[in-house]
Structures are given as structure tokens and as C-alpha cells.
């Protein structure tokens, strides 16, 4: 009998991949600091050190502490991020958390709508040959349309119906999210083997019963990777949908105002915050998948 202690899956993965990931992250950090010196040097020499006697240590220190650098150093971004979150009350537009919440609202609303739409469409497509042949090619073609180009159109149409604020951004996020869910669910709903569908047929199961008891459970392993892709796509959609409205609130709006006013560090903080938001949402989906499919793994 094998009595060796087995590590859990997370610990094993960390052990195998922890060291390489840490090394790569340290390398990226070093390259970032080096690039910051290289790219900021000219501006530092021209502006900050113009009339002074400077050594290379002064130059390096200055390039890492400029007010409007070409490439901010990691610690500058971290300080700005922390200051923005803790230094201002939560309802102030200078607090990055406010913008994050605004973007997250539209993202999650669009994600939920997109997932529901994707589920309904995939069930319809699997059960109707007509829809499968007529609709699915157009759904695939629709993703070749850079839907972010349609954002202004959607905003105008929904604005005329009196819907503004979260609704148009959620619609655009929904459009980006429904496609991966639809394609994955169509594949998943068709994944049961013929022997299983025939067995349900011998039990005189209706289509609804076959859907509920066989196809939907079989499609779950296909659904969750698509949910991860879908939530990331919803985030992109929500951020870009904020741009045409003239940049009022949200992380995309923050990026736009930062680029208008030349506030480099503000742009980078918004970018890092949006990256963190994307990672948190994707990790949430991965956690959900682990929770729901936990019993299957043990089987």
C-alpha cells in the first residue's frame, strides 16, 4: 500500500510552478526598473537635472521619482494606487475604488445577461436544426464585427429610450460575453455520448427531461472555462463602453482623462486596477468551478 503523504493539488502546483513564476516575476520587475531609467533619462536630464551637477546615482534616483515620467517605476504606481484608495473618501471621484465599483457594476450586469442569453441561445440551437443552420453562422460572424465599434450606436439607441448609466454599458458587455458561452454550451450540450441519449430515449424521456438530467450536467465542464473568458470579455466591454459617454466614471473613463491631461501615473494606476479587477473576477469564476465540480473530481 502506498502510504506516502500526498500534497493537495494547490500545494503541489505551487511547489512545481511557484519557483519559476517567482523568478519570472522578479525578472520582469528588474526589466521594468531598467526600462524606467532608460526611457525617463532624457526627460530627467532636460527637466529635473538641468542646471545641476549630477552623478549616475542622481540620474537613476530621479528617473524613478519623476512627476510625469514616460514609464513610471513600479513603486510609483503602487504608491499612487494606495494613496488613491486610502487617501480619499469612497464617494470622491479621486478614489480609484469608486471607479472600480462603477466598472464592476456594468461588467457583472453584462456578464449575467450575456450568460443567460448564451444559455438560452445554446439550448435553442441544440434543439432546433433550423436555428442551428440559420443562426449559428451569423452568431460566429457577429464576433468578427469589432463590437466595440458598435458601442456609440448602442449608446445612441438606448439613450433615446431613456436608458443611460449602467444599462448601455451592460448591453455592450453582454454582447462580448454571450458568444463564448453560446459556443461552449453548444459543444457541451452536444457532448453526451449517443449511448447515453439513447438510454434516455428508451426511458421515454422528453426533450426537457433529457436536457435537465443529461445535457446540462454534461455541459458544465465546458461552461466554466467559457465563463472565465466571458467575464474577462465583459470587463473589456464595460471599460470601452465608458469611453464614448465622455468619460464620466469608471476605469475606462479614468484611462481617458489620464491620457487627456497627460497624467501618466494615473493611467498606470487605472490600468493596474483594471488588471486586478480582471484577475479577481476570473479567479472568482475558477473558484466557482472548483466548488460546483468538486464532487466530480472525487469520483
Amino acid at each position: 500500500m502506498d502510504m506516502t503523504l500526498k500534497r493537495g493539488p494547490v500545494a503541489a502546483a505551487l511547489g512545481r510552478q511557484g519557483a519559476p513564476i517567482a523568478v519570472v516575476l522578479v525578472l520582469i520587475g528588474l526589466v521594468w526598473y531598467g526600462l524606467a531609467v532608460a526611457l525617463n533619462a532624457q526627460g530627467a536630464i532636460e527637466r529635473n537635472l538641468a542646471d545641476l551637477q549630477w552623478t549616475w546615482q542622481d540620474l537613476v534616483a530621479t528617473t524613478w521619482a519623476m512627476e510625469r515620467p514616460v514609464l513610471p517605476a513600479p513603486h510609483q504606481v503602487a504608491i499612487d494606487l494606495w494613496g488613491s484608495i486610502t487617501g480619499w473618501p469612497l464617494n470622491s471621484p479621486r478614489n480609484l475604488l469608486l471607479h472600480t465599483v462603477v466598472t464592476a457594476e456594468s461588467t457583472l450586469a453584462g456578464f449575467v445577461m450575456g450568460t443567460l442569453l448564451g444559455l438560452l441561445l445554446s439550448i435553442a440551437i441544440v434543439h432546433s436544426r433550423t436555428l442551428d443552420r440559420a443562426l449559428l453562422p451569423w452568431i460566429v460572424a457577429s464576433q468578427s464585427v469589432p463590437v466595440l465599434a458598435i458601442a456609440p450606436i448602442v449608446l445612441v439607441i438606448l439613450g433615446s429610450f431613456g436608458l443611460s448609466g449602467v444599462a448601455p454599458k451592460a448591453v455592450i458587455a453582454m454582447y462580448l460575453c454571450f458568444f463564448p458561452v453560446t459556443v461552449a454550451m453548444v459543444q457541451g450540450l452536444r457532448s453526451p455520448q449517443i449511448i447515453e441519449t439513447e438510454m434516455l430515449h428508451t426511458y421515454a424521456a422528453s426533450s426537457w427531461q433529457a436536457l435537465w438530467m443529461l445535457r446540462l450536467p454534461a455541459s458544465l465542464p465546458f461552461l466554466f472555462p467559457a465563463l472565465r473568458v466571458g467575464v474577462a470579455a465583459s470587463l473589456v466591454g464595460a471599460m470601452v463602453a465608458e469611453l464614448p459617454t465622455g468619460a464620466q466614471a469608471g476605469l475606462g473613463a479614468r484611462l481617458l482623462t489620464g491620457s487627456y491631461y497627460g497624467q501618466t501615473i494615473q493611467i498606470w494606476s487605472a490600468l493596474v486596477m483594471s488588471a486586478l479587477l480582471g484577475l479577481v473576477l476570473t479567479a472568482a469564476m475558477a473558484g466557482l468551478e472548483h466548488l460546483v465540480l468538486r464532487s466530480r473530481r472525487q469520483a
Binding site: A22, S144, P146
Partner: protein, 321 residues
């Protein structure tokens, strides 16, 4: 075996009859903007829609070996009838042009602004998208080959590269504008960043895709690393690379157009869309969107054609109609 299914004559008659009835209805006084949209109009529209639905259903039900043509025909018919009902309802109900222009107006706007849209197309697609896509995919490919023999770096880089797909990379557009200026190089830079990681991850996955049996065969032939790479592992990686190339094509188009939202010279599809939308010139916005959509679909079709010629041996390509 020729296609079978529901009776061919009845189906063709139904499709042709719906075409003729549709034409008659659209050019009749009932569907003109002057006539009020009442119960008669809606009844006739619903009847035509029912006829069309039954016809499409019958075409979709055709099975058999030659039925691939009829499958595409179903999709084409569906698209044409959506356009028809769009035109009919928008004209008859006198929907304002800024809200939803009719397809005829969009085509007219496309025709009138052909030179402007042509210049925008060159600025966005030919310059930013093509250059960025080619550069980003090549870089991803080269980096994958470079770290192919360093499993330590791969284990460290792959999770980070996969995580970047969760990050909205279009957010680097303002930074790219700051570094590379307003012109197309900054948009190409955004596209390079967006296409690099999917290509890297897919090429790495493809390089691992060759089976152990095949690698041992090459070893038994005393094949060097480079020979194995060239003759076995790269050809095995080609289907994975094509999947990444196709995904990157649409990512590149989206990236270039969105990057133009953040500032660009006075040409470009993204610039055209954002400025004309602010001017409420929605027909031109739709025309630019049509140009972008046709570009995206054509790119996907071209890549699929190329894949069918290069990776003809792979099951995913052989199984296609």
C-alpha cells in the same frame, strides 16, 4: 446520395413565392412611409414572416451528402430576410434616421463616402492591423521557439501569459499613444501586445502536441533537435498556430479600432466611428461598422482557406464540409 428531406419542389416554390410576395409588399403603397401602420400592415407582415419561417425551416431540414450547400443557403436566406424586414419596418414606421437607419441608407452612405472610408481602411487595417498582427504573431512564435528548450522559463511564463488574457489590454492604448505618438505605430503597438500572448501560449501548446511515438521515431533516426523541430514538431504545431492566428485577427481589428478611440490623426475607422457618432451622423457610423465587419469576416475566411491548404491532414480540418 443526393440530398433528401422534405419535397424539393414545394420548398423551392415556397422560397420563390416568398421572394415575389416580399418584393410586391415592399413596393406597395401599404409599406410606404405615407401610409399609416395599422392592423392590416401588421397582419400582412406577420403572414409574410410566417411564410418565410416555414420556407427556411424546410431548407434547413434538407439532409444528405450534398446538403452543405443548403446549410449555407439557410444562413444566407435568414440574413437576407432579416435585412428585408429591417428595411420594411424602418421605412414604414418612419423610424428616425439617427436611431436606426435603413439598410438602403447605409449602403447609400457607404457609396457616397467610399473615398473617406477607403482612406480610413488603409490607415486602420493596412497599416495598424496588418503590421501589428504580423509583428505580434511573429514575436509570439519566435519567443515560443526560443523558450522551447527551457521548461523552467515555460513553467514560469505560461501562467503569467494566460493571466494576461484576463486583463483588458486595450487599456494600454493611451500609454502607447504617449510613447509612439498619435499616428498608426501606437495602434500597431497595442495590436502587437494583444496578439503576442495568445500566439505564445498556442505555439507552446502546439510544440508539445506531437506524440511520444513520433518523437521516439525521430530519435531512432538520430535526428537532431533542429531536424525534429522542423520535420515533426512545427508541422504538428500548425493547427494550434492557425487557431491563434484566427483569434488574433479579430483581436487585432478590435484593438486597432479601440486604440483609435484614445486619440488618432484625422483618419482611421475608430476615429471615424467616434467622431461621426458625436456628430450624430449615424449612417456613416453604420457604414464604417460594415467596413470593419466585412474586413473581419474576410480575414477569418482567408485564414480558414489557408488552413485548409496547409493543415489539410488535421482531423479538425478534414471533418469540415
Amino acid at each position: 446520395m443526393s440530398p433528401t428531406g422534405t419535397g424539393g419542389v414545394a420548398t423551392s416554390a415556397m422560397v420563390v413565392a416568398s421572394f415575389l410576395l416580399g418584393l410586391v409588399f415592399m413596393f406597395s403603397p401599404l409599406a410606404s412611409p405615407a401610409a399609416p401602420v395599422g392592423a392590416l400592415f401588421w397582419t400582412l407582415t406577420a403572414a409574410l414572416a410566417a411564410l418565410v419561417a416555414v420556407g427556411i425551416r424546410r431548407v434547413a431540414a434538407i439532409r444528405g451528402t450534398g446538403s452543405g450547400f443548403y446549410a449555407s443557403m439557410t444562413a444566407v436566406l435568414f440574413g437576407l430576410w432579416i435585412l428585408y424586414f429591417w428595411q420594411l419596418l424602418v421605412v414604414a414606421a418612419e423610424v428616425p434616421r439617427v436611431l436606426l437607419p435603413s439598410p438602403a441608407l447605409i449602403v447609400a452612405s457607404l457609396w457616397d463616402n467610399l473615398s473617406t472610408l477607403g482612406r480610413d481602411f488603409v490607415q486602420t487595417v493596412v497599416k495598424a492591423v496588418l503590421v501589428g498582427w504580423a509583428l505580434g504573431c511573429s514575436l509570439g512564435f519566435l519567443v515560443a521557439i526560443a523558450i522551447d528548450r527551457m521548461p523552467f522559463l515555460q513553467r514560469g511564463l505560461l501562467p503569467i501569459a494566460s493571466l494576461t488574457s484576463a486583463i483588458p489590454l486595450v487599456g494600454v492604448a493611451p500609454i502607447a499613444v504617449m510613447w509612439f505618438g498619435f499616428e498608426w505605430p501606437s495602434k500597431a503597438a497595442v495590436v502587437v501586445l494583444m496578439t503576442f500572448f495568445p500566439m505564445l501560449v498556442s505555439t507552446l501548446a502546439g510544440l508539445q502536441a506531437s506524440q511520444r511515438l513520433e518523437r521516439e521515431l525521430m530519435h531512432s533516426y538520430a535526428a537532431s533537435y533542429l531536424r525534429t523541430l522542423w520535420s515533426l514538431r512545427l508541422p504538428s504545431a500548425v493547427p494550434f498556430m492557425f487557431a491563434a492566428l484566427k483569434v488574433n485577427a479579430s483581436l487585432a481589428l478590435i484593438g486597432a479600432i479601440v486604440a483609435e478611440f484614445f486619440g488618432s490623426p484625422t483618419t482611421g475607422l475608430g476615429f471615424r466611428i467616434s467622431t461621426e457618432a458625436l456628430k450624430m451622423n449615424m449612417t456613416l457610423v453604420w457604414a464604417a461598422v460594415v467596413v470593419a465587419a466585412v474586413t473581419g469576416t474576410t480575414a477569418y475566411a482567408l485564414l480558414s482557406r489557408l488552413e485548409r491548404r496547409v493543415a489539410f491532414w488535421h482531423p479538425s480540418v478534414r471533418g469540415r464540409k
